[in-house]
Symmetry: C2
Subunit: 503 residues, 2 copies
């Protein structure tokens, strides 16, 4: 009885969510003669662009193939962060001693309840991007498959829409691995993992990027026997090696079985289980699990767009080719977000969409390369980064000096028993100009925002060292790094000053 009412509630959330993002019986509006801005794809980039353009008084068409909100809301950040929150609580309950508590003898878990919360959260957020809401805001919203039929027109399920400017914001989809036998035994991606009817007893995660690391840790914390296989020597290939090592250590502490330098080469069914052969240094081993989740990357969603008919350059890996103004080879067509960018993040999708609106509709000359982009992998601890990595700086022959503060020197991190991590700030040597920063901390995503603000507004470490931080906060590690820089300059200048004064 309880289950059935829970199930009913769940389907109510799902109904609201789907009704908001892909309403049944939706009727596309009658097309206007020509749109100032026609947008393909209603993810975060497409929706931001549509709203900004409408606010300018432009006539805007927005076309969505599937569901409004994009991968982030439907499959990506939102559901995964919601599950990570649940998993964090389970990790804390299991290790309550770390926090001054006592771990309960029995710690029950209910996957359907966790999924119901996830659907409730998704339904709630879906209200901010609902089809009826966008229409009321003055956006002409079309559901259907769009393809270019000329340099200034698309067809949506047979109806022609003409445009002065267009924006391709179709996003990306999961890259599917070509492992022999995998398709036959069945596997999950970020798009299907939250449809699981129950918590799997065992799970193999293929791929140790952000998605793989986040979900491997989450499932392990919830009680799944979790194995992760990653083809490189360390997780999170983009991040600094000491940061990636901390994630590796954290996964190990949570009981994840880690296979690095390991490629999944073959899959087969064994009864109800799935057996996967992992190859490492020529040696093979087999892991047998209930479910397989792949997170090996994403690829731009460009299929079926007939880009050639609009004179747009592209390739399967990078997606749409754009210049620094986000313009394609066709001067009236722009792209934004995952379909054209190296940084496939929701914030970057939205920021690039804003650039497009200003460049396309307001004769702007804004450049993508001026953005200071922070990002975060939401493992526990989180890994956040903004700006350059040391290696990028070296490649550009920029001399770098780095100041690092370990979180175990920060009072609040110690008091919270959350002292794994560090704040590392990279400077242009001989100046206090911040080139980039990596933060590993429980709330690294929150902390990196401060560095992002400093970088975007060109605040250097001297000024940052004087900014008072609330005490005790973990974010004061950033000020401490700035103070370390100031101290490093001091001896020469100040000692001389003081000596001159003593005379």
């Amino acid at each position: 009885m309880a289950v059935s009412s829970a199930e009913r509630a769940k389907s109510n959330y799902e109904r609201e969510y789907l009704e908001n993002l892909c309403p049944t019986g939706w009727r596309n509006p009658a097309p206007q003669s020509r749109y100032d801005l026609l947008i393909l794809g209603a993810g975060p980039d497409g929706i931001v662009a549509a709203r900004e353009a409408v606010a300018l008084g432009a006539r805007v068409a927005l076309i969505e193939r599937h569901r409004l909100g994009g991968g982030s809301l439907n499959y990506g950040c939102i559901p995964s962060k919601a599950l990570l929150r649940t998993a964090r609580l389970y990790a804390e309950m299991r290790h309550a001693e770390n926090f001054g508590g006592v771990s309960p003898a029995r710690i029950p878990f209910d996957w359907p309840a966790a999924m119901m919360r996830l659907q409730r959260i998704r339904a709630r957020i879906s209200r901010t991007a609902s089809a009826s809401g966008l229409s009321r805001e003055g956006i002409a919203l079309f559901f259907g498959n769009a393809r270019f039929i000329s340099p200034d027109a698309v067809a949506v399920d047979g109806v022609t829409l003409r445009f002065k400017n267009a924006l391709i914001a179709t996003g990306s989809g999961p890259l599917l691995p070509g492992i022999p036998g995998l398709a036959e035994v069945g596997f999950l991606t970020s798009e299907t993992v939250f449809d699981l009817p129950e918590l799997p007893e065992s799970l193999l995660v293929i791929g140790g990027g952000p998605l793989g690391c986040e979900l491997a840790q989450a499932f392990a914390r919830l009680g799944t026997r979790t194995v992760i296989a990653h083809s490189e020597p360390l997780f999170l290939p983009q991040e600094e090696r000491d940061a990636a090592q901390m994630v590796s250590d954290a996964l190990a502490r949570d009981g994840v079985e880690i296979h690095l330098n390991s490629k999944a080469v073959k899959a087969r069914a064994e009864g109800k289980m799935k057996a996967v052969d992992l190859l490492r240094d020529g040696q093979s081993m087999t892991t047998t699990v209930d479910e397989i989740l792949t997170g090996i990357g994403r690829m731009p969603a460009i299929q079926g767009l007939q880009l050639e008919l609009a004179g747009i350059d592209y390739d399967a890996e990078r997606g749409i080719h754009v210049d620094d103004f986000l313009r394609t080879r066709n001067p009236r067509i722009y792209a934004a977000g995952d379909v054209c960018l190296e940084h496939r993040f929701t914030n970057t999708a939205a920021a690039s969409a804003r650039i497009v609106v200003r460049n396309a509709l307001r004769r702007g000359r804004e450049r993508l390369s001026t953005l200071t982009i922070p990002w975060c992998t939401y493992t526990d601890p989180e890994i956040a980064h903004v700006g350059l990595y040391v290696q990028e700086a070296s490649e550009r022959r920029i001399p770098v000096k780095t100041f690092t503060i370990p979180m175990h020197d920060i009072d609040r991190a110690i008091a919270d028993s959350e002292d794994t991590g560090f704040v590392k700030i990279h400077l242009r040597e001989g100046s206090d100009h911040i080139l980039g920063a990596t933060v590993v901390a429980r709330n690294a995503g929150e902390m990196i925002n401060t560095v992002s603000l400093a970088m975007a507004t060109r605040i250097g470490l001297v000024a940052l060292s004087k900014v008072m931080h609330a005490y005790p906060t973990q974010g004061s590690a950033i000020q401490r790094a700035a103070e370390a820089y100031v101290r490093s300059r001091r001896p020469s200048r100040l000692a001389a000053w003081w000596q001159s004064r003593q005379i």
Copy 2:
């Protein structure tokens, strides 16, 4: 057996802690002829000043009456934040459903274990301010009672120390209530509450300021039947009323019995219990509890200093009188921290100490009033503030416009099930200049640091609206508030621009 080894460990932590902060058998150094800077009190302000002055090459004496580290490390922020972290976990375990989990049937708690963690944490942090460490850094460290004997000398337990400049940084102590019978039945303050041998079954907290609210919530979450009595109509009298109301609601949700507009007027023993009469609107009621904790404020620690002999003005309430350069009436004597400031925060103590060092030793003219001071009350949700309140702005006849973003509009707050609160930014009307901000959120203390940086470096909301934040983070509420400001300016300007372009 387990308990006794735990007890042993505990006393080891306590031993390390006391050995660091008030070592047995300490021998004061032989006094030098005259010190460039003599500091009374080795709290955060005194220690920061001593270190900064030594780094300048100055001869520094530091005098401590009791324990190094000050109230913050010994009784204040550190132990209370450590306990709050434990309490937060218990709240989450009890309400696991909110986070997609299932609450365990039995949730055991072990007060001695929680206290042992607290002592471990305190011992660890005490290493950063140890007597031997400070001595090695070149600071002449004296333990003893200091009193002025002339405008340029103090006596420490009979030994005379002469100075060019002195800094009074003796901090503050808890204000003790004069409630008839209270002293007789016994009560706890922030200095003794962590010495409790066990979790009290019931507790009356007198005073609904930061300390009272934080600890009332913590004890309730750990399982104590908790009553709080506050003499005003709402908690946290300094904070904005909607923020204070959210704390009140949060305490109620955690099961705290709340008595507002209520004064504790009399206490008496009833068997092993303590009965306290509360008076509200002329009506009296009695609450009977195991323990009483008072947190009605703090007062500057100036007793026994013989300030008159140094020509220093003071009064019992405000403490030492200083000008905006933190100088007392005696031009060679300064004060910093709780003993002279309205804002009794650890970060303010440290920042004011830095001002003193620069003004006293480097002929600086730095003003206290230029500091942008953020602070935070660490209830759940946290309440953080920086800059002016609306009322202060009105008093100064500064026209204010406020932009508010509720946390329930922020994706990460929703996904975390931590969506109680708001970000509220006050602007000087007609500009994008930030006057102040209040944040109520799970991590408000971390979030306020971003606003503090913007204010201290005079970054306005237009620039802030363009700063990319990591997604999804709760801190993006700050950017959203900035965007709301930008949108509010838009219609007039941009609509006109667009219309002119259409022609």
